[in-house]
């Protein structure tokens, strides 16, 4: 709707009359100015003999788009077309489902609850006598037996129940800038970290509720061999966090950790500052400590597991964890009874689809079967329908 100068007055009149008072859209505006033009065309048409030009400008374009005649694909969903699809889906899904189910079943998983709720539990006393202020760690040992050997790499998880890591107040209580090594954020953590933002007037590093509640039980695994000796099973503590988290998202504020964290305070519930998380390995210390990174990835559900250690496969001949007796030694630092929580240790092997979870396999088999069944039903219906419609056509 471009309005040239000569049209202006006409346009104005059109405007006054053609427009509604309130919220008239541009459409109307365009329509009226269009109208104005054409009336003006009438007025001046004869003198300029521009009738042909006027015609041309007003005749709608005969383009496929404007005439709503764009070439279009009109898919027809009939029993005939859907039928093969159902069979195909069924035929693909059922094998996948079976594969998933089998591989999930092949995964070996062992789970042990070491919360210490029952008096029979070795950790009962540790759980009962827990105190934030105690300086000596409480250690308890759990004996368990693996009926079957664990081949290939074994992954050791700790599991927590009724722990709301996905609570909003908790989830947001962190400062990713600080964790990324930002100096200003280190000294001035985000307000979201409240009430774990400062202690004793110093900023907390790492701030926030998530960091503050870092899981700090130490789990150690011993194999009791046939002559009753305790063999320490080497636990690898690297490779448990996402690569990108470890290398990009989390960064220390400086090379010299002690100096870098000068002027900050440790989280209130921690026993040692962040730069002493793993003094043995500078690549796993400070913010880039993998246990810390794993903990910082908040779980989706109140019952969750987190990767703790990896037990590497030693050779092809011996299983990683042969069947037999084992001892789990726990340095019991983490209280969960106050909120009715549970702690578990899980040993699991992993397949291509991840940990043990029969859900996906069952779901695939079910959906595949349903599709297959529907395919059969549709086949019958299709046949019936075709004959019926044919017979219906005849009397007409």
């Amino acid at each position: 709707g471009e309005i040239n100068k000569t049209d202006q007055h006409q346009y104005y009149n059109e405007w006054i009359f053609g427009l509604e008072k309130g919220s008239k859209r541009i459409a109307a505006m365009m329509a009226t100015s269009y109208n104005a033009k054409e009336e003006d065309g009438h007025h001046s048409g004869a003198s300029s003999h521009g009738a042909a030009g006027v015609v041309k400008s007003k005749k709608p374009d005969n383009t496929a788009f404007k005439q709503q005649r764009l070439p279009a694909w009109q898919p027809i969903l009939t029993a005939g077309t859907v039928l093969p699809a159902f069979f195909v889906i069924g035929l693909i899904f059922i094998p996948i489902g079976i594969g998933l189910y089998v591989s999930s079943n092949n995964i070996k998983e062992f789970e042990i609850d070491y919360t210490g709720v029952d008096i029979s539990n070795p950790c009962y006393s540790c759980a009962k006598n827990f105190s934030w202020n105690s300086t000596t760690p409480c250690v308890c040992s759990m004996n368990f037996t693996l009926e079957q050997p664990f081949e290939s790499n074994v992954f050791m998880y700790y599991g927590l129940s009724n722990f709301y890591q996905n609570h909003r107040r908790y989830v947001k209580s962190r400062d990713d800038s600080q964790l990324n090594g930002d100096q200003s954020a280190l000294k001035n953590p985000s307000k979201e970290c409240e009430p774990y933002r400062t202690s004793d007037g110093l900023p907390i590093a790492p701030c926030g509720a998530i960091a503050n509640s870092l899981f700090n039980d130490t789990l150690e695994l011993y194999h009791i061999d046939s002559n009753n000796t305790r063999n320490t099973i080497p636990l690898v503590k690297k490779g448990i966090a996402w690569w990108t988290d470890k290398h990009v998202k989390f960064r220390n504020p400086g090379e010299n950790l002690t100096a870098a964290f000068q002027g900050t305070n440790k989280p209130v519930n921690w026993r040692k500052p962040v730069y002493e998380l793993d003094p043995s390995d500078p690549d796993n210390n400070g913010f880039i400590n993998e246990d810390f990174i794993v903990w910082m990835r908040t779980a989706a559900l109140p019952t969750f597991r987190k990767l703790y250690r990896i037990i590497q496969k030693k050779s092809n001949t011996t299983p990683t964890l042969p069947s037999g007796k084992y001892v789990l030694e726990i340095t019991y630092n983490y209280p969960v009874l106050s909120f009715d929580g549970r702690k578990r240790m899980i040993l699991s092997t992993i397949s291509w689809m991840g940990g043990k979870n029969p859900f996906l396999g069952i779901a695939y088999i079910t959906v595949g079967s349903i599709c297959f069944f529907l395919g059969v039903v549709l086949l019958i219906i299709h046949h019936k329908y075709d004959t019926r419609s044919n017979s219906a056509d005849i009397p007409n």
């Binding site: 104005y12 009149n13 004869a46 007003k58 509720a209 966090a241 990108t244 991840g354 695939y364």
Partner: protein
């Protein structure tokens, strides 16, 4: 002194109520009284709504008056004030976007208005002041200024014409920009004003400004030295309206009477009330449901939260302590803020973007109507016009069509067919067979059959030549300056052949009604040519090529109430003659009885053939009679109050005792494809009512011709004639007839299933109903209130059971009354009015959808309509194809929007049960914000613009398909429930599918675990893909745009997710999604669950499509278009 002043002031105030006094040239009339210039508003036109200063507050205020905007503002404010789960940005950004876009649009529109205002207000005009001519800006004109206007200029304000450069004290004006009538109208100077305007001493008393363009009543007092002031009446013929253009006149002078916002043009600017479509009402109803869902969700969550927290250790475990402030907050305040937080968390269920999308869909969609080349009419070189895009979908919902007859069903292209003089029929057609015993017609007309006596014939033809208000277009001298567009409407004579005088070939006639042109042209064929009106003298070229001169004394204008017009002329010989022509019903009672019988037969026969008939009568006025009439007319014209009524009485007095000389028959041909269109509309289940001012016989024959009435249609007539048949009192007869018809059409008719419109071809008897204006007013305004209501109900019930209804002899207001009555009847059906003339405006405005036809009766109908089309035949495509598609599109759009937001928010709601009711959002803020704006908006917009679930040809061929969507079929509670359940199903599936997957969060083959953001991202991915593919499944018409947009938005989602998670975003304290999406894709399990859930969600939909079977009596036609049997359709082709 003070008291006098006070009196004056009060008096002035009193006067203000009904009239205003204007001092021409600001000169006081009498020397005795001090001249106090009265205050009137200035001539500034302000059509703009805003100024620079008040734009922001005013515009914002107006925008937030919309309930939806206000709701979103509240949500936004809650987010800002209360500590809520999502950042204010998530709802603030879309709101800001919407508000800004609207503000920019409105600002631009207002800027254009300002520009136009300035153009007009700063326009230089010449004002005669203090003996000189001064150039003034238009906005500085005051009431009382004498303004000079030159040819082709528009009048800067409403002027009383004082002086014209033309000799005959007239000027010509076009009001094309006011009412669209492009003919030249003659306006007259006030008689007896002095040539020298400087010395003119006069006051004008006129009514207060009022918007009616065709009404003006005033009086001018002219003071001459010490004489008693002469009084002249002022009418609309003296008033030049602002906005009109001066033509054919070099210059005029006039005095400003109304200025600025008080001009008739500005007063007409008062907008019409906005029409709302049924879809909008449905949206609001659904909105309410969703609002309830929202509130109950928030309530449930708040309650559960406090129940959950009451257990020890849950509210504040050691790892998740509250801040000091939270601890101190009052419990009830906390509950309230929690409730608000939940509201905010779930507010996406009512999407701000839906309003934007609906608006855009309507705005963009309406272009397809203007672009449609099928609506282009080569004759007038115009296509369809869309005045409002709000009602596109309403075109698919029409149940009642009210159509005008003349110009709508018929072409309004009048052709003189025959006349009847003194009982003898004259037909201008070669070799037509004898039609009745005593009348023969054949041969060329120049030799009239000598049957009726030459004298009578000539009298009749003179009457035709004199009794009209036709102007001759001066094509020879001034034609070059004229636009040739006029010729179309003018009907050059050369076309018809048989032209005696070659000079007349260029002659054209301009008249407000095409009948008159037809009659004058008819008379010309018989040898009497009207040469024109010059300074009150009408010239006629008679058969002997002599020029006859008649002095035109009075014109008794046509009006629809009297249904006749007259002229009083004085012939050369000094006789004063009155010629009158009009409808038979208005002429017959005013002529001698014995004359009537001879002509009535012809008139009735002509009427049944569908011709428009007019009767012509005359009378010779004696000197006293004329004097009396003249005095009466002058007096009535001077009256300031009730002028109309007074004039009417005088007219009625004068037009009596005439003698009938003949009748004319003019054919008004049916519009192209009128019958097919009407048949299609009826086939589509619409009830067609013809509302016309024409007489019953003519209208009836038109109805038969349009196949509105079929041969087997039983006509139920309720007219003055049937009422008078019984010989009893009309009221009683009306009562009986109504009951009888009601019994016939309603009670005895086979019961109609509710919700199903009756099949037009069903075996039952078809009824047609005929009512006339007089009877209708009896029905509507019956003497007693209870009767009136009862009659109205009976009448409505009868009408609803008739296939078509004909209402003849309707006044314009009655048309609107009928529309209103049907509109407000049970079930509030959607009505559509279509008409072409000013008399249809009222019903066009009244109906849900008003359609104007770009016909010959000016542009008022077009201007007031919602849609304008060049021809009646276009209505079929407009309704059956465009309307149907628009309805399906927008209905789907609305349902889909609610659906997609339900299954968007439901997982978030369910997640609350797993996160301790802590308002933790499931999705990242970016996803929350972008979901409606970017990821899922374009496919549905493309769908709602391009979808053709049934192709246009099929829609046009099978009118019955229109019934499929009747009664808002796709937006009723049934479909709404279906969509809602679908949304709930999908939401549950998404959430719990992923929930079970996350029972072991170790989903990667390296044993690493996924967190809550991965959970949300998987759900969101499934969600985006499912809702998009669901739409893809519904799309029946895949153009490249659909492909592009559907696959494009999925690709965009993936791309965006990579991008959003691929960077450590500076300035953000939380990097929640860092590499979450990429990690998700590295997990086989995530892939598998996404595929499974998408497929499982769509499975029922696919099944439904396949299993849906055609049902009902039209199974075959429907079968032709339901997807299942598209195949068969193709086969048939």
């Amino acid at each position: 002194m003070l008291r006098r002043r006070l009196n004056r002031l009060l008096g002035g105030d009193e006067r203000r109520v009904d009239s205003r006094t204007i001092y021409v040239g600001h000169r006081s009339c009498s020397a005795t009284e001090a001249f106090i210039p009265p205050k009137f508003c200035d001539n500034r036109i302000v059509s703009s709504k805003y100024t620079v200063w008040n734009f922001l507050p005013k515009n914002l205020f107006e925008q937030f008056r919309r309930i939806a905007n206000f709701y979103f503002l509240i949500i936004f404010l809650v987010q800002v004030i209360v500590d809520t789960p999502t950042s204010p940005v998530t709802s603030g950004l879309p709101l800001f976007f919407v508000i800004t876009v609207t503000a920019i649009k409105q600002g631009y529109e207002d800027w254009l208005r300002h520009k136009a205002d300035n153009e007009v207000n700063k326009y230089l005009v010449t004002v005669l002041e203090d003996g000189g001519r001064i150039q003034k800006e238009s906005e500085k004109i005051k009431v009382g200024d004498v303004v000079e206007v030159e040819e082709d200029e528009t009048f800067p304000c409403d002027l009383i014409l004082l002086q014209s450069s033309r000799d005959d004290d007239t000027c010509f004006v076009t009001t094309a920009s006011l009412d669209g009538e492009s003919n030249h109208k003659t306006h007259y100077t006030v008689p007896d004003t002095e040539k020298d305007l400087e010395s003119l001493n006069a006051t004008i008393e006129c009514e207060q400004p009022q918007p009616d363009l065709y009404k003006f009543v005033g009086r001018m007092h002219i003071y001459k030295n010490d004489q008693e002031p002469t009084v002249r009446s002022l009418g609309p013929e003296n008033l030049l309206l602002k906005g009109a253009t001066l033509k054919n006149t070099q210059k005029i002078c006039g005095v400003a009477v109304y200025t600025g916002m008080e001009t008739k043009m500005a007063l007409n600017y008062q907008g019409k009330s906005q029409k709302r479509s049924a879809v909008e009402k449905s949206i609001n109803a659904f909105l309410l449901v969703y609002l309830c869902i929202l509130v109950s969700k928030a309530l449930v969550c708040t309650t559960l939260k406090y129940v959950w927290q009451s257990k020890p250790g849950q509210d504040e475990p050691w790892y998740n302590e509250k801040t000091q402030r939270e601890k101190e907050t009052n419990l009830y305040l906390k509950m309230f803020t929690d409730f608000l937080s939940f509201m905010v968390l779930f507010n996406f269920i009512i999407p701000v973007s839906m309003y934007v999308t609906v608006e855009m869909q309507k705005f963009l969609g309406s272009f397809f109507i203007t672009w449609d080349k099928d609506f282009f009419d080569p004759e007038i070189k115009e296509g369809a016009l869309v005045n409002t895009s709000d009602l596109n979908e309403e075109l698919g919902q029409v149940e009642y069509v009210f159509t005008d007859k003349t110009g709508t069903l018929t072409q309004n292209n009048m052709e003189f067919i025959e006349c009847c003089i003194d009982g003898f029929q004259y037909k201008y057609r070669d070799a037509s067979s004898e039609l009745d015993g005593f009348c023969v017609t054949d041969g060329p007309v120049s030799k009239l059959q000598q049957k009726a006596g030459r004298e009578k014939e000539e009298l009749f033809l003179r009457a035709l030549c004199l009794c009209h208000t036709v102007q001759v277009k001066e094509s020879a001298e001034q034609g070059q300056g004229q636009r040739d567009g006029l010729i179309d409407e003018v009907d050059g004579l050369g076309v018809d052949g048989e032209v005696v005088h070659p000079l007349q070939e260029q002659r054209g006639f301009i008249a407000s009604s095409p009948d008159e042109v037809a009659l004058v042209k008819g008379a010309m064929r018989y040898g009497f040519t009207f040469l024109g009106l010059e300074s009150k003298t009408m010239k006629i070229l008679n058969r002997n090529n002599d020029v006859e001169m008649y002095e035109l004394l009075h014109v008794l204008n046509f009006d629809p109430v009297r249904r006749r017009m007259s002229v009083i002329v004085r012939s050369k010989s000094g006789d004063t003659l009155l010629f009158c022509k009009g409808a038979d019903s208005s002429i017959f009672p005013r002529v001698r009885r014995e004359e009537v019988e001879r002509i009535r037969m012809h008139v009735e026969r002509n009427a049944t053939e569908g011709y428009r008939t007019l009767c012509v009568a005359y009378k010779i006025l004696s000197a006293e009679e004329y004097a009396q009439a003249d005095a009466g007319l002058r007096e009535a014209r001077l009256a300031l109050q009730d002028r109309e009524e007074k004039l009417m009485t005088v007219y009625n007095q004068v037009e009596t005792g005439m003698s009938l000389i003949g009748a004319t028959a003019v054919e008004d041909r049916l519009q192209e494809e009128a019958a097919e269109t009407m048949e299609a509309l009826q086939g589509a289940g619409m009830k067609v009512w013809v509302l016309t001012g024409d007489k019953m016989e003519t209208a009836k024959s038109t109805c038969y011709a349009c196949r509105l009435f079929q041969r087997n249609t039983e006509l139920l007539e309720l007219t003055v004639r049937t009422l008078e048949d019984g010989g009893r009192r009309r009221e009683e007869r009306l009562h009986d007839l109504l009951l009888e018809y009601h019994k016939k059409a309603v009670q005895d008719a086979p019961p109609v299933k509710a919700g199903v419109t009756r099949s037009w071809s069903s075996a039952g008897q078809d009824y047609g109903f005929i009512i006339d204006g007089a009877t209708l007013s009896m029905v509507l305004n019956s003497s007693s209130e209870s009767n009136s209501n009862r009659y109205k109900n009976l009448f409505l019930q009868i009408c609803q059971n008739c296939t078509s209804v004909l209402c003849c002899r309707m006044a314009p207001l009655q048309k609107a009354q009928i529309v209103k009555m049907v509109k407000n009847s049970k079930g509030s059906p959607i009505t559509l009015s279509i008409g072409d003339g000013a008399n249809d405006v009222s019903m066009i405005l009244e109906a849900h959808v008003g359609i104007g036809i770009k016909g010959k009766e000016g542009r008022q109908a077009v201007r007031n309509s919602d849609y304008a089309i060049p021809k009646l035949k276009h209505l079929k495509k407009l309704l059956l194809a465009h309307g149907h598609l628009y309805y399906v599109r927008i209905a789907h759009l609305v349902q889909y929007f609610f659906y997609k937001n339900l299954c968007f928010i439901l997982p978030q709601f369910l997640y609350q049960f797993f996160c301790g009711y802590s308002q933790q959002p499931l999705y990242d803020a970016a996803y929350l914000t972008m979901y409606n704006i970017c990821f899922t908006s374009m496919p549905i917009l493309a769908y709602s613009l391009l979808e053709q679930h049934i192709c246009m040809e099929v829609l046009l061929d099978n009118a019955t398909l229109y019934r499929e969507i009747a009664k808002n079929a796709m937006l009723r509670w049934g479909p709404f429930l279906y969509w809602t359940l679908l949304g709930v199903f999908h939401g549950l599936l998404f959430f719990f599918g992923v929930r079970f997957l996350f029972s072991n969060p170790a989903l990667q083959d390296n044993g690493q675990v996924f967190g809550n953001w991965s959970y949300g991202t998987i759900v969101f991915t499934v969600l985006v893909f499912t809702v998009t593919l669901k739409l893809a499944l519904d799309t029946r018409h895949w153009t490249w745009i659909n492909h592009f947009v559907i696959w494009g938005s999925l690709a965009f989602y993936v791309f965006f997710s990579f991008f959003w998670g691929g960077i450590i975003w500076p300035f953000l304290r939380q990097q929640r999604l860092y590499f979450v999406f990429a990690n998700m894709l590295s997990s086989v399990s995530a892939w598998l669950v996404i595929i499974l859930l998408i497929l499982l969600s769509l499975l029922p939909e696919i099944l439904l499509v396949v299993f849906r079977k055609p049902r009902g009596p039209h199974a075959r036609q429907i079968a032709a278009v339901t997807p299942l049997s598209y195949k068969h359709l193709k086969e048939r082709e």
